[in-house]
């Protein structure tokens, strides 16, 4: 029964408690939703105007057009585009927020924030084509912030964060297809116009608009990564832990959930202040224990080694330990059910963003000018709750894994430089050429209640590791692997094939680790999927090929969010075949389905592989890698 819900033993312990106490969880609500509507599942429901709602009969035995005349292909393509637009709006909303903060920092108007990584600031400025010599840090920061904000304006030039980060081949392809976005918000609102009633009825034309929207999402992601690195530091390798065992009974336990380090970094800063720690001690706590959920948890893990509590579908579960004093959230991926589950325990759910409120939560709005003040206020709420539960029993599962994280592009290059200082990419390229690393697979995405939590990730990583495939991971995918011990040197010892093990050991030893690197490198939050692109672009440029020739692939084995659909679409647009472990709501249109899974390969070099069986999925990705190796005249292997 619980094996159907989650592979995570701490989650299963909490599910027993939920059952005993009659607390409804995401899994209960999913069951109550079954059966889910097949029109929705196939993408054949259109609610874009009030003449509807319309449905196309997938069996060809009923209406084959909506009232306005839209066919199944049109409806499915338009629905897909709206997902992409929403995903792009989310990533770029996060990026935009960071850009505003950087702008205020450069003008001296946000004293709680600063440029922590000047080297990254200069690198980004130079990449954008600015001369930085003779300018102060504030001036450079102002220029970069202005360039970032300009990405959201109306203009004719291509997005700088697309044009300055991709290969010439990709840029030429996008211009040829007419999908190069000139403004992030422009691309998003263009999709909304294109898909509203009576605009773009051509399904393939719609898909091209979706690709443009996904490139706007890519720009937003890269922007988010760059600006977070500038403001909060570029991640370097860090050791930490993951899973519910990181909660500490005698500490004030505070979970940071959501996405933007703009908020979570402030809570972290406040929690280290003596006055705040004194407050906690006066309440009888031994200290304050910050832990992370979802992407903001990843941001803090990558930069500061803050432990990861849980991710995605299991986000309600830590409340049931009784030890979680507060969950502080900003935006995206936060289940509104948290306040209901928290009711039974008094855990304070605190919302901090004006656009992201939840009934039942306490709202303490944080903006750049008052960030630390509000952060202290919020921590005080958590301390209050600790006082109330101080001697009550807690049920913290004794489950946690060690984690190695912090693999920004800079960190990876830095680690490789210990093997070859002049040409750090050479050891990686040589390993790919000689086959010790067959190729690279990036794991991204969420947990989806439709899949037993983590099961697809775990099965796929094992199959690929033993076949010498190097893996990267982001977001809740990295979280899944973190909680099950795959982000450790021990996982390399246990699961990696001989070639992969040799390479990871060489890098680990050269860097003084005394052990191999993990078989999966945690490269960050979901916006940090852009880091993987930087690595792919560097490899492609060095080898003189385009990304679509590289033996690389991506996988979203348990995705659910619109953001994941946006990222998946830019991944295939960049020429990276991308596996989806959950069937996307496009199957109602054979045209759209075939373009996404086959036609895209000819047009873009990347395409979607939809496969719900994780072992078959791993096999499909391995086949992609082998085909690409063959294309580069490298030795290939059988499965």
């Amino acid at each position: 029964m619980t094996a159907e819900k989650s592979c995570d033993p701490s989650v299963n312990e909490m599910l027993q408690i939920a059952k005993k106490k009659g607390i409804s969880t995401v899994w209960d609500r999913y069951r109550a939703q079954l059966p889910q509507c097949g029109f929705g599942e196939s993408g054949l429901c259109c609610r874009n105007c009030v003449m509807g709602p319309c449905r196309i009969d997938p069996f060809g035995d009923g209406p084959d057009k909506g009232i306005c005349g839209a066919t199944a292909d049109t409806i499915v393509a338009r629905n897909l585009n709206r997902y992409i637009a929403a995903g792009a709006a989310s990533h770029s909303g996060h990026a935009k927020h960071l850009a505003h903060v950087l702008k205020k920092v450069s003008a001296g108007k946000a004293a709680d924030y600063s440029v922590r990584d000047e080297a990254k600031l200069v690198a980004v400025a130079r990449r954008l084509g600015f001369e930085t010599g003779g300018l102060t840090v504030s001036e450079v920061a102002g220029r970069v912030a202005d360039a970032a904000l300009a990405e959201f304006s109306e203009r004719e030039e291509p997005l700088a964060w697309v044009e300055s980060t991709l290969t010439g081949g990709r840029l030429a392809k996008f211009k040829e297809l007419g999908v190069m976005p000139s403004g992030i918000d422009a691309a998003i609102s263009e999709i909304l116009q294109r898909t509203t009633m009576g605009v773009d009825a051509d399904p393939v034309n719609n898909l091209l608009g979706g690709i443009k929207g996904s490139l706007a999402d890519y720009a937003g992601c890269h922007l988010g990564t760059d600006l977070s690195d500038i403001l909060f530091g570029t991640p370097m390798p860090v050791f930490s832990e993951a899973n519910m065992g990181v909660l500490k009974e005698k500490f004030v336990n505070i979970a940071l959930h959501g996405h933007n380090p703009v908020v979570s970094e402030m809570i972290l800063a406040a929690a280290k202040e003596d006055a705040v720690l004194d407050q906690a001690k006066e309440a009888g706590a031994e200290g304050i224990n910050l832990v992370g959920i979802c992407c903001t948890g990843n941001e803090l893990l990558m930069r500061h080694g803050v432990q990861a509590l849980t991710h995605s579908v299991s986000q309600e579960m830590p409340i049931l330990t009784g030890a979680l004093d507060a969950i502080i959230v900003d935006y995206q991926c936060v289940y509104p059910s948290l306040t209901t589950v928290a009711q039974c325990y008094g855990t304070k759910v605190v919302t901090t963003m004006g656009i992201a409120k939840i009934p039942g939560a306490v709202h303490v709005e944080i903006d750049e000018e008052n960030a630390l003040v509000k952060a202290r206020e919020i921590i005080a709420l958590a301390i209050e709750r600790f006082k109330a539960r101080k001697d009550a029993p807690t049920f913290i599962p004794d489950v946690k894994s060690s984690v190695v994280a912090g693999f920004s592009t800079e960190a990876i290059v830095g680690a490789l430089a210990k093997l070859n200082a002049q040409n750090p990419l050479k050891p990686l390229i040589d390993s790919i050429i000689d086959g010790n690393i067959q190729g690279v697979v990036l794991f991204a995405g969420c947990n989806n209640v439709k899949v037993p939590q983590d099961s697809n990730y775990l099965a796929m990583v094992k199959e690929l590791a033993k076949r010498d495939v190097l893996m990267l991971a982001t977001g809740c995918g990295a979280g899944a692997l973190a909680r099950h011990g795959f982000l450790t040197p021990e996982a390399t010892e246990e699961y990696a094939g001989p070639g992969l093990k040799a390479v990871l050991t060489a890098i680990g030893m050269a860097n003084g680790l005394g052990k191999p690197l993990p078989p999966v490198l945690h490269i960050g939050s979901c916006v940090d999927n852009s880091r993987a692109v930087d690595i792919a672009v560097a490899l492609a440029n060095t080898l003189g090929v385009d990304i679509k020739e590289l033996p690389v692939a991506a996988s979203a084995p348990e995705y659910m969010h619109e953001k994941a659909i946006a990222i998946g679409t830019w991944a295939i647009s960049l020429g990276i075949p991308t596996h989806l472990g959950v069937v996307p709501p496009v199957v109602g249109s054979s045209l759209v389905t075939s373009v996404l899974t086959q036609g895209a390969e000819d047009i873009l070099g990347g395409y979607f592989i939809v496969e719900t069986d994780p072992v078959k999925a791993a096999e499909a990705l391995f086949a992609v890698i082998q085909k690409r190796r063959g294309g580069l005249n490298l030795a290939t292997r059988a499965w």
């Binding site: 079954l34 097949g38 997938p58 069996f59």
Partner: protein
Amino acid sequence: MEKEILVDFDKCLGCRSCEVACAISHSSDKSLLGAIGEKPQKRLFVEQAGKLKAPVTCRHCEQPHCVSACIAGSMQKLPDGTVTNSDTRHKCTGCWMCVMVCPNGVIRRARTDKKAVKCDLQCVDDQGVPACVAACPTKALVFMEIDEFNALKRTKHLAGIL
């Protein structure tokens, strides 16, 4: 031959339009907007078992367990075959014997009264077509004679194998 409510299991998409239509037909207003305040109750249930989605309806059995079990004599089989306790001679007393013996689990408790409610086929239109069938967008629910239903099935089967 009389017509029956039959299900083509390949066609149910789980959209629950049948449930909504059934509920609305049992409201005083008979329209969605009007019915929303009233909260009328559906009498058929779309369920999922493994990959199969299907509506589960009262079968208006020929030897209805619910009629036999009814201690008040409220549940009856009408001359036209309908099994119902609506507008019958004796009042339902809420003993729940019918609930306990129904093999399909399609008799439920009224929202406010202590009475059993079930499919009563009072929803039929002027062609005699029940509301759930009329609402089904994929013809998973059909109202037809068994001979016709079988003929269609046989033809489809042959077309599939020839």
